[in-house]
Symmetry: C2
Subunit: 142 residues, 2 copies
């Protein structure tokens, strides 16, 4: 039972917290191709997934062109040997740069954790000082 619902442009915009303008722009750039009900765009589940993928791409710092590229790779059916080989090369490229990104992120996460600890230490120190002050003032008041 495939969920057979269909979505309006406004529904998708609300769900993903983007503007309808953006969605139409993605269509303009060839990343989406919704059907029409008269004038009105009708989005299927497949379209919705595509949109989700577009946004994931953005989170990863992909340009729309790059994402479209990946889509095109995925959609390839009629593929000659030459095409297949270039696709494989492209995939390898992407995988390499993604692995680089993965390493970059891991490093950054460690760095941020270190920074976090430094901050916590400083905070602890400040609080220790204010505690000391408070206790001394308490003493004075006694």
């Amino acid at each position: 039972m495939t969920t057979q619902t269909t979505y309006s442009i406004g529904e998708l915009a609300r769900e993903f917290d983007i503007t309808t303008r953006s969605i139409r722009f993605y269509e303009d750039q060839g990343l989406l191709t919704p059907q029409r009900q008269g004038q009105t765009r009708l989005y299927t589940n497949k379209d919705r997934v595509r949109l989700k993928l577009i946004l994931r791409g953005k989170r990863l710092g992909f340009s729309l062109a790059e994402t479209k590229n990946l889509f095109d790779l995925y959609d390839m059916e009629n593929s000659s040997e030459r095409q297949l080989r270039t696709v494989l090369a492209l995939i390898d490229d992407k995988k390499l740069s993604l692995k680089q990104q993965l390493e970059d992120i891991k490093v950054l996460l460690v760095e941020l954790s270190n920074l976090e600890e430094r901050c916590r230490d400083e905070l602890a120190e400040i609080e220790a000082q204010s505690m000391a002050k408070q206790s001394s003032s308490t003493q004075e008041s006694l």
Copy 2:
């Protein structure tokens, strides 16, 4: 023995394969603050590391403003309690979105590997066909 060399703008540009224009632009945006030898900019090792970090940020899809933000966090010395707490909150935010990115990338890597396999399968099939043709034509010629 800290490497005590200093770099010209051109050297750095060549090393990181960017233009001098970009480096000056990063300075304009407050991400670099090289010293001057008269008019000429002089970059220390620290500057070089910063530049490296800027480029890493770009690979991760950070805007220059975001990267500058991280720099500012790191440079904080004179920090009140309130400041420290907001910094900790910001760090947590970043860490969260980075973890999200990490997941995104892992998923994409799997998807690409799947796609790769599909391609290899198709390629194998094509080659099998061409082999078959060749052997049949060989038979004909016999």
